[in-house]
Symmetry: C2
Subunit: 367 residues, 2 copies
C-alpha cells in the first residue's frame, strides 16, 4: 500500500497541518491543555476559571518568562513580557515607546507586515524606508543598503510568512534592531541579546493566538517625550512582572507548555537542525520536480514558509484537491503569491514533510 | 451527615468557585472547550491549530457576534466586536476614539476601575469627575449630581467588583453613555441600545480572559480629529467584521460557547431572576447573622459581588480557613475592603450559594 493510501485509511487521525498560522502545536501540548481545562493541576478547577493573582497562575507566568530567558539565552538587560494583542499592536506600540515626533527610524520593506509597521510609525515620527524588494513582489531580502546613523532604530521582519523569505544574516548596525519575529521565533538560533526589541504573536512557534511575546532591552526605554497610555508603556509591564492587568491566562499557559516541549526537544539548536532538514527536504523536492518551482531567490528562502507554484498553473487546483483528499491541511498559497505555501513550524514533524514530498512525486508521476 | 461533611467527602469534584475573575464557567462550556482542543468539530485538528480565515473559525466569530446581538436585543446602529486586550485597553481606546484634545468627558468615580479610566482620559482630553464616593471607600453609588451638557460622553462602571456596588438605575443624560460592564454584563437586563459604547473583559460572565467585548453605536465614531493607530480605531474593526488581525481564536470560541449556554438557559431575563435569587439568599444570610455584616449601602448592593466582613475581624482568618477546607474557592475580599467577597456570576449555581450560606451558619453556631 502506498503512503497516500495508508494515510487515507487513517483519515483525520493523521492530518498534516501546514497552515501558516494559527498553526500546528505539539500533540502533547494539546493533550495537556485539554486536560487543564477540565481540572488544572488537581485544583478541581479549570485553567479557565482560576484567578490570575493566584499562586497557580503566578507559577505559570514565571515559568513561561523563565523559559524564554533560558531558551534565548538572554542577559539581564532583556526583559520578557507576555502582552495582549498580536504583532499588529506592536506596529503601533514600538514607535509610541521609542520614537519622538521629529525623529527618524529605519524600516526594511520586505512585504505586507513591514508596510503595516511603517504605516503606524508615521503617526509617531519619520519612518525611513531604507530598502525594499517590492518591485519583485518581495521574493528576496534586500542586501545592499545603508541605514542612516541618526535613525533611532532599525526595524525588520525576520521571516516573511506570505512570501517565504527570511533574513539569514541580520545587518550589523549601530542602533537597536527591532525585529518582528512572529513567524520564525524559536525556530533558529540568533544572537537575541543583540536586539533592542523582539516581538512575536504566539500562534506560529510558541502557542495559540491571543498573546504576544515582547523581549525588550530595558535600556532603550524611557527616552521619548510623549505621554504613553498606561497599558502601552512597556515599562509598566516590566514593573508589574507582565501582570499589569488580567493577562490572557490560557494563551500564556499554552505558550508555557510549548516552551517546555521545546526545551525537552533539546532547545533552539536542536530544533534548528530539524527545521533545516525539513526545509532541505521540501526545497529539494521542489527543485528536483518538473511540475513545481519555488518563488523565492534561493539564498533568501524561508525555512518556515516554503512558497512554490506549478510550471503549469492550470494544474494547481488539481494538486490542491489531491493534497486535501490526502490529509494535507493549509497549503494554499496567500493570494499575493498564489500557488502553495507549506509552513514547517517547529511542531510539524519531519514525517509530514516526507509525506507531502511523496504526494508531490505521486502527483507528478500521475500527470 | 451535614452539608459540610458531605462536601468534604466529595472534595474537588465539588469546588464552589466564588472567585472575582477569572471566574467560574458553565461545566458544559469547559467540557466542549476541552474536547475542541483535541479535535475541533471532527476536523482532526485542534481549535488552537485552525486558521482564523477558515470557514470553521468564521462560523465561530459570526455566531459569537450574532448571539451578543440577540441576547442584548441590539439595533442595527450597534456593532459587536471581540477585541484583543481587557478593559484596561478600553480605558485608553475610548477617549482616543471619542474625545478631542480640549473637549470634556464626564466620569463617575466609583472606585479603582473608574480612576484608571479617568487617568487615561487625561492623555486625550479633559475628564470631568462629576461625582465620587471615594470619601466612604466607595461603599455606595453617587446619586445627586449633574452632568454638564458640553460633556462628549458620560463614563460609568456599572458594577464595581472590588467594593460590591452596582448602578441599579443608570442616569438619564443627553450625551452617549460609555459603560464598563466587565463584571455584570449579561447578568441583568439593561436598555443596551441606549448606550453609546459598552465594553467588558470576557473573564466574568462571558468566557475566559484574553478577549474584550465592545458594543458600539457606530454613529458616535469618526468625530475626533487626531490620527488613530489602525488597531485602535473601532471603525477598522467594524469594517473587517472583527477580524482586522488574528483574533484570540480560543477566547472567542469560549465566549461563543458561554453565550450559547446563556441562550439555552433562557437568556438575560431568566438569568437575572436566578441572579436575584442568589444575591437575595446571600445578603439575607449576612443580614440575619450576628457574625457577618455587609459593607455596602443596601440600595446599591451588587448582585454579582457580595462584599462582607465580620463584626469581630479577628475571626475572619478562621472563617476563611473553614471555607477553604470545605471547597469554597476565591472568597477572600480585595485588600481595599478586607473581609470577604463572594462573586455570584451567571455560571455559579444557586446550590453553591446555599452551601456557602449553610457554612456561614455552621461556623456561627460553632463560634
Amino acid at each position: 500500500m502506498s503512503l497516500v493510501a495508508e494515510n487515507v485509511q487513517q483519515k483525520v487521525s493523521l492530518m498534516h497541518n501546514f497552515n501558516a498560522g494559527p498553526s500546528i502545536l505539539p500533540k502533547t501540548v494539546c493533550e495537556q491543555a485539554s486536560k487543564a481545562i477540565l481540572n488544572y493541576n488537581d485544583t478541581g478547577l479549570s485553567i479557565l476559571e482560576i484567578g490570575h493573582r493566584t499562586k497557580d497562575f503566578q507559577a505559570i507566568m514565571d515559568e513561561a518568562r523563565a523559559l524564554v530567558k533560558e531558551l534565548m539565552n538572554l542577559d539581564n538587560d532583556h526583559e520578557v513580557l507576555f502582552l495582549h494583542g498580536g504583532a499588529s499592536t506592536q506596529f503601533m506600540q514600538v514607535p509610541m515607546n521609542l520614537l519622538n515626533e521629529k525623529e527618524t527610524a529605519a524600516y526594511a520593506d520586505t512585504g505586507v507586515w513591514s508596510i503595516k509597521a511603517i504605516k503606524e510609525a508615521k503617526l509617531f515620527g519619520n519612518p525611513d524606508v531604507v530598502c525594499s524588494s517590492k518591485d519583485s513582489n518581495y521574493n528576496f531580502i534586500p542586501k545592499d543598503f545603508a541605514v542612516p546613523n541618526d535613525a533611532k532604530y532599525f526595524h525588520i521582519t525576520t521571516n516573511n510568512t506570505i512570501y517565504g523569505t527570511q533574513w539569514q544574516k541580520v545587518p550589523d548596525v549601530s542602533m537597536p534592531i527591532i525585529a518582528d519575529m512572529s513567524s520564525d521565533i524559536f525556530s533558529l538560533q540568533r544572537n537575541f541579546n543583540s536586539y533592542g526589541l523582539i516581538f512575536a504573536g504566539a500562534q506560529k512557534n510558541m502557542g495559540c493566538a491571543g498573546v504576544n511575546l515582547v523581549v525588550v532591552n530595558k535600556n532603550i526605554l524611557g527616552k521619548v517625550k510623549r505621554a504613553i497610555p498606561t497599558i502601552m508603556d512597556y515599562r509598566n509591564h516590566i514593573k508589574e512582572g507582565s501582570m499589569l492587568n488580567t493577562p490572557p491566562v490560557f494563551a500564556v499557559y499554552v505558550s508555557m507548555l510549548t516552551l517546555q516541549w521545546l526545551k525537552q526537544e533539546g532547545g533552539i539548536n536542536t530544533i534548528e537542525k530539524i527545521n533545516n532538514a525539513k526545509a532541505e527536504l521540501l526545497y529539494n523536492a521542489i527543485d528536483n520536480s518538473h511540475l513545481f518551482k519555488g518563488t523565492v531567490v534561493k539564498e533568501d528562502r524561508s525555512k518556515m514558509n516554503v512558497c512554490f507554484v506549478m510550471e503549469d498553473s492550470s494544474l494547481e487546483k488539481a494538486f490542491l484537491e489531491f493534497a486535501d483528499q490526502h490529509g494535507i491541511y493549509g497549503i494554499k498559497g496567500h493570494r499575493s503569491v498564489g500557488g502553495f505555501r507549506a509552513s514547517l513550524y517547529n511542531a510539524l514533524p519531519l514525517s509530514s514533510v516526507e509525506y507531502l514530498a511523496s504526494l508531490m512525486k505521486e502527483f507528478e508521476s500521475n500527470n
